[in-house]
């Protein structure tokens, strides 16, 4: 693998992490969706680059799926849901932006530290990629935790999954990447449909996740 | 075989002796107390007359009383008498002496008390219950005290067998502090068990002070006579117990000749007399205590006995 290809994939992976940070400090839902679309695009690019580097055809498929599904369909769908349901447009944070960013930094540091312990990897690339992927995953989860709206939770989940796809793509010659990305698209679809469901069945006026816990099983 | 016959004869002699002499002892105590309080008092033999009179009277039994009420007097007398029979009065090594030991004697007296208390409850009057419950409280402290005293004696003499103990005492174990403790404790227990002043007053019928009398309040006629006799016997028993353990001199050792035994009997009667006088003096010189002071009194006995036993446990081992 040449230095150039290394740099490019590295750049793209780093960009992914950067965008995850951007996701963290969005305050408007629409902006959030746009940023997410951006992340999806970058993901598609980096997967495609991996496909080119490893000249693995199936990765192109994955890239295509990622682009079509996450960069186009889902954001559009969510846009429409938001406007249909008339959800108020700003993201409700549990924790302030500042602490969230700090936590994010800490997570990135943590993932790099953990990865540095990996010695045997011949090419640093995969290791770096893994470090980035891990931080994207963690940042995605952090986002799910610090945001209240169902929409931003969905977005967080999807960015988490982006990290997974990145890792899968980075893993040279890993079989089933396509299948996995498909399976995950199904998961995401379910999530979005779930959000729809609650609206259609007229049970929840808002998709604020709090509304989902109105009923508390056997609370005392 | 002849030896056995002789032993049997002496055993029976001893039993008859104690039961015959018991009223006399009581009479003596009463007489001494009367003299000391400047009264002429009843004659020495008054108790015999009382018993005879009571026995001849018809017995009145409360409607609510059960068969237990009527059998109790005989049970009490029997138990006390058997206990008394086991105590070497003028000769050790009596025929039956090995059929029960000191612990058994304590237990026999316990059974007498058990039935007496039941009889107190039987008629279903307040006084009977009062007497029974107080008696139970006294006994619950007096009995353990007695047992720990037995511990000390047994450890000194190396046996709980009373004949052996008496023999060991005569062979001279010397003066020991534990013996002193045991003696004091035993005296206290004896006073409590026989319902003497300061624990109880055998002469009173003043409701709030009665214990033993309250239990037998409903008895009359022959039943009363038997119970009175039993309590006199008990007094004699305790006195002869103290005597044979602490002043065993003159007692006829086992397989002693007839002469010695007769001498022993004489000695014994003399000792009883002295003890009776002492008891009378003691009773007149002290006032009765409140019922709930008695536990402390008996507790003291328990502590003394326990101390003695403890000393012996750590100081010596049994042969």
């Amino acid at each position: 693998m040449t230095g150039l290809s290394f740099d490019v994939s590295h750049l793209l992976a780093g960009g992914l992490v950067l965008v995850s940070f951007m996701l963290l400090y969005q305050t408007r839902l629409f902006a959030l969706l746009n940023v997410f679309a951006l992340q999806a695009v970058i993901l598609a690019l980096s997967v495609a680059w991996q496909a080119y580097v490893q000249d693995a055809i199936h990765l192109y498929v994955t890239a295509a799926i990622a682009f079509a599904f996450k960069a186009v369909i889902i954001p559009v769908a969510l846009h429409r849901i938001i406007s249909r349901l008339g959800i108020h447009r700003d993201v409700e944070n549990v924790v302030g932006i500042g602490p969230t960013m700090l936590a994010g930094l800490a997570l990135v540091a943590l993932s790099i530290v953990v990865m540095l312990r990996v010695v045997s990897e011949a090419d640093a690339l995969a290791r770096e990629d893994l470090a980035f992927a891990l931080s994207v995953v963690l940042l995605g989860m952090l986002m799910m935790v610090v945001r209240r709206n169902a929409v931003s939770m969905v977005v967080g989940f999807m960015s988490l999954e982006n990290g997974l796809i990145l890792a899968a793509a980075g893993a040279k010659g890993m079989p089933l990447v396509v299948e996995i990305s498909v399976a995950f698209s199904v998961l995401v679809a379910f999530t979005v449909i779930g959000v729809f469901l609650f609206r259609i069945s007229e049970r929840f006026e808002t998709v604020d996740a709090r509304a989902l816990e109105q009923f508390q099983g056997d609370r005392l | 075989m002849t030896g056995l016959a002789v032993d049997l004869v002496f055993q029976l002699m001893q039993m008859t002796l104690v039961i015959l002499i018991a009223p006399l002892l009581t009479g003596l105590v009463r007489a001494v107390k009367a003299r000391l309080t400047r009264r002429r008092g009843p004659p020495l033999l008054q108790p015999y007359r009382d018993l005879a009179r009571l026995v001849r009277k018809e017995a009145v039994v409360a409607d609510s009383a059960s068969w237990l009420f009527r059998t109790t007097p005989y049970v009490v007398l029997a138990a006390t008498w058997v206990a008394a029979a086991l105590i070497p009065t003028f000769a050790t090594g009596l025929l039956f002496s090995w059929s029960a030991d000191l612990i058994a004697i304590v237990a026999l007296l316990g059974s007498a008390r058990f039935f007496l208390a039941l009889a107190g409850l039987d008629v279903g009057t307040s006084f009977g219950g009062l007497g029974a419950s107080r008696e139970a409280m006294f006994a619950s402290l007096a009995e353990p005290a007695m047992i720990v005293i037995v511990f000390s004696l047994a450890l000194i003499a190396g046996s709980t067998q009373l004949s052996t103990v008496a023999a060991a005492m005569t062979s001279g174990v010397g003066l020991r502090v534990t013996l002193g403790m045991a003696l004091i404790a035993l005296v206290i227990v004896a006073i409590a068990e026989n319902g003497r002043i300061p624990v109880d007053n055998p002469a009173t019928h003043l409701e709030l002070t009665m214990v033993h009398e309250a239990m037998i309040l409903e008895y009359s006629g022959r039943h009363l006579a038997v119970i009175e006799l039993a309590s006199m016997l008990k007094l004699t028993l305790y006195v002869s117990l103290i005597v044979c353990v602490f002043v065993p001199w003159g007692i006829a050792i086992a397989d002693a000749g007839v002469g010695d035994r007769l001498a022993g009997a004489a000695f014994y009667v003399a000792k009883l007399g002295v003890a009776g006088v002492l008891l009378g003096v003691f009773e007149t010189s002290i006032a009765k205590m409140r019922v709930f002071r008695v536990p402390d009194f008996l507790g003291a006995a328990l502590m003394l006995g326990f101390l003695g036993a403890l000393l012996l446990f750590v100081s010596r081992t049994l042969k």
Partner: protein, 482 residues
């Protein structure tokens, strides 16, 4: 794909899949219920064939002694549960909780679930295993939500979100395993085939393996229902149809546990990687004690037993974490006994809920008076699950505790403490439900008591007498598990 000519392996996969497809278009719930039962029975019989002819394992499928235990147990309980559900689900239609279209969906999903679980169990490819478990999760999500009440949908949603996150973590772990394997095994399928991995794992990079195991443990541990990842479990049990609660407790948890075990074996084989045992033992102990205390404040009978499932999963994971032939044997035995007992209990609970028309513990009283059969089988079941002899769970708990105490006294003391706390809670609730003045509600129940009897019969038998072949089998597996 080694020999898909119709051997048992093909059967246990194809049968459910085909039936699922069939049932999806089958009107009339009676017929579909019958088909459901028949197909489950056939699947069970097919799995029994493993005991005699072990299919050759390939890159995708693997049948070894370990997963045969799981497969047979799974298909059996799936069968009995289908029998129960056949006699039970009609009632739901009458009471209008379900419509026939839902029932069609329900039966199709039932078979789909069976397919997914069998696939996960026989998968030799860790990617395939992951896909199968995800599928099983999605199907159960759908079934938990089938009543479409607010509570049911909330439970399904909670299950779905937490489950998906778990799935994601598990996938990351899987990828990491591949990454660790690649330098050694080269690129390609080989890097995801469990048997191949196990062969060379000793040369893998330990750091990557550790990282992978952390993710896998959390990911699949969520499915196992280990505290603190258990949150979805009680609601999913309580709000779904009772047969599904039985399947969840009796089967799905085992499947996830199976996945964890496979990866534990991998890590065990690499000397330089951290030993997975302590982590598992800790999680198990935490789950046990946590669930034991949670039992005290339950108001809903199905939630009560859901928490007892968490407790027992804790015991099992603890046993496997301790390792050693005795503890592993105990773990396997405990898993089997727990599946049988717990599903039987859920069957009973289904009857009770039908009879009393409520799931609230407070409204269920004096069952032994109003419904002697139900009441006493509840007593039997709770005593069994609480570890009372001569029932099977006592045997395994006996082995776990006694073998642990000789090795790690403090752990054993904690274990015993947890067991005792749980025992107290279960008995407290049991006495309230089984004895005293009966509460109103004495509808007679439609469902068949046959599965209950069958399960309890097996559990009782196991407590008294374990057939030597079974013992030999378990012992072999136990040694295999290190």
């Amino acid at each position: 794909m080694s020999g898909l000519p119709l051997d048992g392996l093909a059967a246990i996969l194809v049968l459910p899949a085909a039936t699922a497809a069939l049932l999806a278009f089958m009107p009339g719930y009676r017929v579909s219920a019958a088909i459901n039962v028949a197909s489950s029975l056939l699947t069970f019989l097919a799995s029994l064939s493993f005991l005699f002819v072990k299919p050759a394992s390939g890159d995708y499928f693997l049948v070894d002694d370990l997963n045969i235990v799981f497969v047979v147990l799974n298909t059996f309980v799936a069968f009995t549960a289908s029998v129960f559900s056949a006699s039970y689900i009609g009632h739901e239609l009458e009471t209008g909780r379900l419509t026939s279209i839902h029932l069609r969906f329900y039966h199709a999903m039932y078979q789909a679930l069976t397919f997914a679980m069998n696939l996960a169990l026989v998968a030799n490819n860790i990617g395939l295993m992951w896909v199968a478990i995800e599928m099983a999760t999605l199907t159960t999500v759908a079934m938990v939500g089938v009543y479409r009440t607010q509570a049911a949908i909330e439970a399904a949603w909670k299950y779905f979100v937490l489950g998906s996150v778990g799935i994601a973590l598990a996938l990351f772990g899987t990828i990491l395993v591949y990454m660790a394997a690649r330098p050694v095994l080269g690129e390609g399928v080989g890097g995801m085939v469990w048997t191949t991995l196990l062969g060379r794992v000793a040369e893998f990079d330990p750091a990557l393996l550790n990282l992978a195991f952390v993710f896998l443990m959390l990911g699949y541990g969520t499915k196992v229902g280990l505290a603190p990842l258990h949150a979805w479990l009680p609601d999913a049990h309580a709000e779904g149809p009772t047969p599904i609660s039985a399947v969840l407790s009796g089967l799905l948890l085992n499947v996830a546990l199976y996945a964890v075990l496979r990866f534990k074996l991998l890590l065990d084989a690499n000397a330089r990687a951290i030993a997975p045992g302590p982590l598992m033992a800790t999680l198990g102990l935490v789950s046990l004690i946590f669930a034991a205390f949670m039992l005290y404040r339950r108001r809903d009978i199905k939630r009560l037993f859901a928490f007892s499932s968490i407790e027992h999963m804790g015991i099992i994971v603890f046993a496997f974490g301790m390792g050693g032939p005795l503890a592993n044997f105990a773990g396997l035995l405990h898993m089997t006994m727990h599946s049988l007992t717990k599903s039987a209990i859920f069957f009973t609970v289904g009857h009770i809920a039908q009879a009393k028309g409520t799931q609230q513990i407070a409204d269920i009283r004096g069952l032994t008076v109003s419904h002697p059969a139900l009441g006493w089988s509840l007593v039997l079941g709770v005593l069994a699950i609480a570890g009372a002899p001569p029932l099977g769970i006592f045997t395994s708990e006996f082995l776990v505790v006694s073998s642990t105490f000789a090795r790690a006294p403090w752990l054993a003391l904690l274990l015993v403490f947890g067991l005792l706390v749980a025992f107290g809670a279960l008995i407290l609730r049991l006495q309230g439900m089984a004895f005293g003045e009966p509460s109103p509600g004495d509808r007679q129940t439609t469902a068949s008591t046959l599965p209950i009897a069958a399960h309890f019969g097996l559990v009782l038998l196991a407590g008294l007498y374990l057939p030597p072949p079974l013992v030999a089998w378990f012992q072999h597996v136990a040694t295999m598990l290190k």
